[in-house]
Subunit: 149 residues, 2 copies
């Protein structure tokens, strides 16, 4: 047993997939070469960023999901993108947005459980110019990444 599962998941999380040209061609009733041409164009224009898998996160040991609302320290006000890009590097972080309103940033975070989340908060969100954080824990995901559960 080689535990290939655990090597596949990180690869499929942000790539190593491709469009099924033949299926699309059949669905749209167009020649597959036409579909191929149009897909390459979309990719070249940068409209398509990646092909990836969507998981049932409960089943792959990433059942804990939370939205984190962040207030930045005044020192970071002038350049919120810098800290955002640092946070974006973490695999646990599904999304980072700079937002309007009472907070400056919202993160979507996925980890194994509450313990792992505490660890993440403690190590990542305590440093780097972050002021107050408000966590909205997801009790149940009804839809994620456009895919319904």
């Amino acid at each position: 047993m080689k535990h290939i599962d655990q090597k596949l998941i990180p690869l499929l999380k942000n790539g190593y997939c491709a469009p099924k040209i033949a299926s699309i061609a059949q669905k749209l009733k167009e020649p597959s070469t036409t579909i191929h041409f149009n897909l390459k164009k979309l990719e070249k224009e940068g409209k398509i960023k990646a092909y990836k898998a969507v998981f049932d996160y409960r089943k792959i040991d990433e059942g804990f999901c939370a939205f984190v609302l962040l207030k930045l320290l005044p020192s970071e006000y002038k350049d919120p993108e810098k800290i955002s890009m640092q946070l974006a590097k973490y695999d646990e972080v599904e999304s980072v947005d700079i937002i309007t309103g009472d907070w400056e940033l919202i993160l979507k975070v996925r980890v194994k459980d509450q313990d792992a989340y505490y660890h993440f908060i403690k190590n990542v969100l305590s440093r780097e110019g972050i002021g107050k954080t408000t966590t909205l824990t997801s009790l149940k995901q009804i839809k994620s990444e456009f895919v319904a559960y």
Copy 2:
């Protein structure tokens, strides 16, 4: 001109893709049949829900993104899943989560522009047992669906 682009995007948004077994096999230095076997297993177990494309939403006329915090009316308190599943049906809705804290639900919504968002709020979020809504407009997306910009 057949405007195939606009037919491809909705298809690729939640399917019509597949893992690149040969590339994965090369990356992990395993036989492609072994990768094939393990992928089928992950799919059968329901751990993989879909293979899909991730877009640069600014480039495909879906540049407006917002998080919506929802308070439900007391009548919906007993069954927040019902209304969540109704909201999940909309293509504009990337995610729906039932959460802890001062709100009951959080949505991630993608539309063309502020006008389209107003239209969405007006038509979808005014009815169906929803009390107060708070919108957090995304000024800039740094990372989305695990893919960095």
